[in-house]
C-alpha cells in the first residue's frame, strides 16, 4: 500500500484522528480574554516584527538604514506594543457593515427631508450657518482624516495601525458626508453657495485658529502625537463642541432636522475612536518601564495641541449668536468640552484640566466680527 492510498476518504475535519487533528485555533498569541475574538484572530500578528517571529528580521530598509517598521517613529515607548487590542474590535466585515449602515441612514434621512421639502423651510439665518460654517467645518474633518491616513503607516503592530486606519476611514467618510449633504440640500435652497465653506475655512477669522490647530496636527511628525491630538484633544475641545454643542442642539429650532442626523454619525464614530485611543494611551501610561516618560510626553503634547484647540474653540464662539432662535450657549458648550477633556485625561492618566472660561474672554471672543461669519 502506498502513501497515496492511505489518504482519508473525506478531507473534512474529524475524518481521522492523528497528532494535531484537533488543533483548530490560532495558537501563537495570547487572547485578551478567555478566548480569542474574531477580531483578534484576523488581526493579531499579521504585521510581524523581530520580537514576534521574524527570525530573519526585516529584510529591506530605507536608504538611511531604518527598517520597514521602527519603534523610533514615536517618542512614546512601550514594553509590549503587542498588548493593545482595539475596544471596537473592527475588522473588515464589521467596518463595512457599520460604514454602510451609516451611509444608508444618512441617505434615507436626506432623501426623506428633501422629499418633504424640508430644506426650503430651514430658517434663512441657519442656511447661512450651514453654507458658511458647516461648510467650513468639513475641511477640518478632512484634515484630520488625511493626518490619520498617514499615521496608520507607522504603528509597531497591526492592532495599532488598524485602529488608526479605521479612524481615518471614518473621518474621511464624514468629510464627504458633509460635502455631499450640503451640495444636495443646497440644490433645494436657492442661492446656496457651495464654495463659501472653503472660503470661510481659508479666510474667515473665526476659522483660522481651527485651521491652525488642524494644520499642526497634520504637520506633526510623530504618528502617535497625531492620533493623540485628534482624539484626545481636538475632538473633545473643537469637534464635539461644534457638532454636539452647536449644530445638534441648535438645528431643530431652525426647522432643520436633517443636519443633526448627518452630524450624529460623526459623534457615534468618535465614541468608538475615542475608546480605541483611550485604551492605547492608557496602556502606554501604565507601562511599568516607560509610563512616566510617556506621561511627560503626552502632557507636553496636550499643552501644545490643547492650547491650539482652546484658541480654536474660543474663536468659534460667535457662531452661537448666528442662529435666529438661540437654544444653546457657547459657555455651556465649552464647559461641557472642558469637562469632557478633563475626564478623558483622568481616564488615561494625564492632567487635562483647563481653566474655566474667564467671562472677559467670552466677551472678547464674542466681539469677533459677525460680518466675517456672514
Amino acid at each position: 500500500m502506498t502513501m497515496q492510498e492511505t489518504t482519508a476518504a473525506s478531507a473534512a475535519a474529524g475524518a481521522k484522528v492523528f497528532p494535531g487533528s484537533d488543533s483548530r485555533r490560532y495558537n501563537y498569541f495570547e487572547p485578551k480574554g478567555r478566548k480569542a475574538t474574531h477580531y483578534e484572530d484576523v488581526t493579531v500578528d499579521v504585521q510581524p516584527d523581530p520580537e514576534r517571529y521574524l527570525l530573519q528580521n526585516w529584510i529591506i530598509s530605507f536608504g538611511d538604514g531604518t527598517p520597514t517598521y521602527s519603534k523610533d517613529w514615536t517618542a512614546l515607548k512601550c514594553a509590549d506594543w503587542h498588548g493593545f487590542r482595539a475596544p471596537d474590535q473592527e475588522w473588515e466585515r464589521t467596518h463595512y457593515q457599520r460604514q454602510s449602515t451609516i451611509v444608508g441612514m444618512i441617505q434615507n434621512v436626506v432623501e426623506n427631508a428633501r422629499r418633504a421639502g424640508a430644506p426650503q423651510r430651514f430658517d434663512k439665518a441657519w442656511v447661512a450657518v450651514l453654507q458658511n460654517h458647516v461648510g467650513a467645518f468639513k475641511h477640518a474633518e478632512y484634515g484630520l482624516g488625511t493626518a490619520l491616513m498617514r499615521a496608520q503607516r507607522y504603528g509597531y503592530t497591526q492592532m495599532v495601525n488598524n485602529a488608526i486606519l479605521t479612524n481615518a476611514s471614518y473621518k474621511l467618510r464624514f468629510a464627504q458626508d458633509l460635502t455631499l449633504y450640503l451640495a444636495e440640500v443646497g440644490s433645494d435652497i436657492g442661492g446656496f453657495d457651495l464654495d463659501a465653506g472653503k472660503a470661510h475655512w481659508l479666510d474667515d477669522p473665526i476659522w483660522q485658529p481651527c485651521r491652525e490647530a488642524v494644520e499642526h496636527i497634520r504637520a506633526a511628525t510623530d504618528f502617535l502625537e497625531q492620533y493623540f491630538a485628534v482624539n484626545l484633544v481636538f475632538e473633545p475641545l473643537v469637534g464635539e463642541l461644534f457638532r454636539s454643542g452647536f449644530v445638534m442642539q441648535v438645528a431643530a429650532a431652525q426647522n432643520d432636522f436633517s443636519t443633526p442626523s448627518v452630524i450624529s454619525a460623526a459623534e457615534a464614530d468618535y465614541e468608538r475612536n475615542l475608546a480605541n485611543a483611550v485604551e492605547l494611551f492608557a496602556l502606554l501610561l501604565r507601562d511599568p518601564v516607560h509610563g512616566e516618560d510617556n506621561r511627560t510626553m503626552l502632557q507636553s503634547w496636550f499643552t501644545h495641541h490643547g492650547g491650539l484647540a482652546v484658541k480654536a474653540a474660543l474663536q468659534l464662539q460667535p457662531l452661537w449668536s448666528l442662529p435666529r432662535v438661540k437654544t444653546a450657549s457657547f459657555a455651556d458648550a465649552f464647559e461641557r468640552a472642558r469637562d469632557r477633556v478633563a475626564a478623558i485625561g483622568r481616564e488615561i492618566g494625564i492632567d487635562a484640566d483647563l481653566p474655566a472660561l474667564p467671562p472677559v474672554e467670552v466677551g472678547q471672543a464674542a466681539a469677533v466680527t459677525d460680518a466675517a461669519a456672514e
Binding site: M3, Q4, T6, T7, A8, S10, A12, A13, A15, K16, F18, P19, G20, S21, D22, R24, Y26, Y28, V42, D45, V46, P48, Y53, L55, N57, W58, I59, I60, S61, F62, G63, G65, P67, T68, E92, R93, H95, Y96, Q99, I106, R115, H139, Y142, M149, R150, A151, Q152, R153, Q158, L165, L172, A175, T179, L180, A183, E184, K198, E215, H216, A219
Partner: protein, 574 residues
C-alpha cells in the same frame, strides 16, 4: 397631500402585484430626489483639500522622484457608494462560505490543494496590509487631492483583503481534516524559508523610495500584472480541486484590484510628466517586473501546477496562463505603450521571464526545491504520480526526463525512517539562494556571483545581480538616489541555521504538532499516525549554508564551484 396620494398609488401597485406605471417610470424614479452627478460629487470631494499656510507638512516618505502634476481620479467614486458596494460583496463572500459548509465542501476537496493554502495564506495577508500602509505614502506624495479618495478606498480595500484572508484561513483551519500549519500561521510566516520570499514581496511595497515601492512595484507591476495569476488563475485551479471558498474570496478581492490599477496608472502618468524621472522609471519597472516574476511565478506557478489533482490536458498550463495574462495583456497593452512617453522598457527581460518558464523549467525546479526541503515546511507536499507525469509531459515535453525520477524517489523516501530526500544520494545539489529575490538559484546556468561593499553574494540571474548592486544603491548611473531602499536583515534562512541539526531547527521554528514530536510537514498525505514523521526521524542531519561555504573558499575553489554549479545535475534513482 401630494405625497399622500403618491404613497397611496405606490401601495396600490404593490398590492395589485402589477406594474401599471408608464414605460421607464420606476418606483425609485418617483421617490428619489435629484442628486448631484458623480463628476460633480467627485469634484466637490476633491475640493476638501487645501494648501496649509500656518505650518507646512514635512514630507515623511523619501523619494528621488519629482512630482509636480496632480494625478487625476479615473474612477470618480465617493465613499458613500463605496461602502454599500463593499458590504454587498462581503455578504456574497460570507454567504458562499456558509453554503460551502452546508454543501460539505471538505468531503470532496483535494488535500493536496488545501495543504498549499497553508503556505499561500500564511504569506498573502502581510503584502495586503503592507499595501494598505503604503497608501499613506501615496496620499501624501501625490500633489492635490483629486486621487485621495482613490487612495483611501485602496487603503480600506487592502485592510479588507488582509482580514478577509485571515478569516478564510481560520475557516480552513476549522473545517479541513489537518489544521496543523494553519494553527501557527503568522508565527510560521516569520520563521519559514519560503515565507521570507513573500516578505520580500510585501516589504517592497512600503520600504525605500516611496514611488518605487508603492507606485511602481505595488501598483504598476504587482497589481496590474501579477494579481491576474495570483487572484484569477489560482482560484480557477482551486475550483477544479473542489475548493469553492478560495475563488469566492479571491475573485472578490480581485474585483477591488481594478480600482488599484486605475490609481497606479494615474499616479504613473503624473510621474511620467517629469523627464528627470524617466531614468528612475526605467530602473524601477525593470527591477519590479523581474522580481515579481521571480517571486510570484515561483510561488503561484508551483501551487497551480503542483497543488492540483486536476489533470485535464485541455486546461491551460501556468506557462500558457502567463503568456495570456502577463505577456499579452500586460506587456503588450500596458508596458509597451509606455515607450511612447520615452520610457525604456526591457523587452529582453519579459522574453527571458517567459523563456525561464517554458524553456528553463523555472516552476518545476522551484517545486523540486520545495519538495527537497519538505521537512522545513509547515504544510504537506505529496509525491507526483503517474497521472501527474502524463500531464506534465504533455504540457512540458521532456519533463519526465528531468523531473520524473526525482518524484519517484520522493515517493519512495516518503515513509518515516527513510533518509530525508535532501540528504539521500539522488544527485540533487541544494541550491544557492538569490540575494535579491530570496528565491533559490534553480536555473543553474544563470547563476552568478558578485561583490557588493566588499562582500560576496549569490544571484539567480544577471538582473538579480543588477538589482542588488546597481538598483538598490545610493547612486544610479551617476545620479544620487538616497531614497532608494537597501537589502537588510538576515536574508538567507540557511545562514541562520547553518550547522544546526534538522530536528533542532524544526523545533526552533515551532513546526511541530501539539504532541511535541510529530512534524507538521509530511512528505505525503497520509493521515495515519504510523505514517507520520517525527523529530527523531530527521535527527542527525545538518543544515549548511551554501553561501557561507562559498565565502570560505579560495578564489580558485570558488571559480571551480561556480562552473560546476552552472552545469547542473542529473538525478539518480535511489
Amino acid at each position: 397631500m401630494a405625497d399622500a396620494i403618491l404613497q397611496a398609488r405606490i401601495n396600490i401597485i404593490k398590492i395589485m402585484g402589477r406594474d401599471d406605471m408608464p414605460d421607464g417610470l420606476t418606483l425609485n424614479k418617483i421617490t428619489s430626489q435629484k442628486g448631484i452627478g458623480i463628476t460633480e460629487a467627485a469634484r466637490r470631494v476633491a475640493d476638501l483639500g487645501w494648501t496649509p499656510s500656518y505650518v507646512k507638512e514635512a514630507m515623511a516618505f523619501p523619494t528621488d522622484y519629482k512630482i509636480s502634476k496632480a494625478p487625476r481620479d479615473p474612477m470618480k467614486q465617493v465613499l458613500r457608494s463605496y461602502f454599500p458596494m463593499q458590504e454587498e460583496k462581503d455578504n456574497r463572500v460570507y454567504g458562499a462560505l456558509d453554503a460551502a459548509l452546508r454543501g460539505d465542501m471538505f468531503r470532496n476537496v483535494e488535500p493536496r490543494w488545501i495543504e498549499w493554502m497553508k503556505l499561500f495564506l500564511a504569506i498573502i495577508p502581510f503584502p495586503e496590509i503592507s499595501a494598505a500602509r503604503s497608501m499613506a505614502t501615496l496620499g501624501q506624495l501625490a500633489p492635490g487631492d483629486d486621487l485621495r479618495t482613490g487612495f483611501t478606498m485602496q487603503m480600506i480595500d487592502e485592510f479588507r483583503h488582509s482580514t478577509i484572508q485571515m478569516n478564510l484561513k481560520k475557516w480552513y483551519m476549522e473545517n479541513y481534516i489537518d489544521p496543523a500549519g494553519f494553527d501557527i500561521t503568522e508565527k510560521a510566516f516569520g520563521k519559514c524559508y519560503a515565507t521570507t520570499i513573500g516578505r520580500q514581496f510585501g516589504e517592497a511595497f512600503l520600504t525605500g523610495d516611496a514611488i518605487t515601492a508603492s507606485n511602481i512595484y505595488l501598483q504598476v507591476v504587482a497589481e496590474t500584472a501579477f494579481t491576474n495569476t495570483l487572484f484569477v488563475a489560482m482560484p480557477s485551479e482551486a475550483a477544479r480541486n473542489g475548493d469553492y471558498a478560495l475563488p469566492t474570496v479571491f475573485l472578490s478581492v480581485q474585483s477591488d484590484e481594478s480600482r488599484h490599477i486605475g490609481n497606479g496608472h494615474s499616479m504613473l502618468m503624473s510621474v511620467l510628466k517629469e523627464p528627470d524621472n524617466h531614468l528612475l522609471l526605467e530602473r524601477d519597472i525593470r527591477y519590479s517586473f523581474w522580481q515579481n516574476h521571480m517571486i510570484v511565478d515561483a510561488a503561484i506557478g508551483t501551487i497551480i501546477e503542483y497543488g492540483t489533482k486536476h489533470r485535464d490536458k485541455n486546461k491551460e498550463s501556468y506557462a500558457e496562463l502567463w503568456h495570456r495574462w502577463i505577456f499579452e495583456d500586460y506587456y503588450r497593452t500596458y508596458l509597451l505603450p509606455l515607450e511612447k512617453y520615452g520610457i525604456k522598457i526591457h523587452h529582453d527581460d519579459v522574453h527571458e521571464a517567459f523563456d525561464s518558464i517554458v524553456k528553463k523549467n523555472y516552476v518545476h525546479k522551484i517545486a523540486q526545491f520545495f519538495s527537497a526541503g519538505w521537512w522545513a515546511n509547515f504544510w504537506r507536499i505529496e509525491a507526483m504520480t503517474e497521472r501527474d507525469f502524463e500531464w506534465f509531459e504533455s504540457k512540458y515535453p521532456g519533463w519526465y526526463d528531468e523531473f520524473g525520477i526525482w518524484w519517484e524517489n520522493y515517493a519512495k523516501l516518503s515513509k518515516p525512517g527513510s533518509v530525508p530526500i535532501t540528504f539521500a544520494d539522488t544527485g540533487y545539489v541544494y541550491p544557492h539562494r538569490c540575494w535579491s529575490s530570496l528565491v533559490p538559484c534553480v536555473i543553474r546556468e544563470d547563476f552568478t556571483i558578485d561583490e557588493v561593499d566588499g562582500e560576496l553574494f549569490t544571484y539567480a540571474s544577471e538582473v538579480d545581480r543588477w538589482t542588488h548592486k546597481e538598483a538598490f544603491a545610493a547612486e544610479y548611473q551617476g545620479r544620487p538616489t538616497p531614497a532608494m531602499g537597501r537589502f537588510s536583515g538576515r536574508r538567507q534562512w540557511e545562514e541562520v541555521y547553518d550547522g544546526w541539526d534538522l530536528a533542532d531547527a524544526i523545533q526552533d521554528m515551532g513546526f511541530v504538532r501539539p504532541d511535541g514530536k510529530t512534524l507538521i510537514a509530511q512528505p505525503h498525505l497520509s493521515f495515519e499516525e504510523k505514517d507520520m514523521w517525527t523529530l527523531d526521524h530527521v535527527r542527525g542531519h545538518t543544515i549548511r549554508s551554501p553561501l557561507l561555504a562559498l565565502r570560505e573558499m579560495t578564489p580558485q575553489q570558488r571559480q571551480a564551484h561556480v562552473e560546476e554549479y552552472r552545469k547542473g545535475f542529473k538525478i539518480r534513482r535511489v
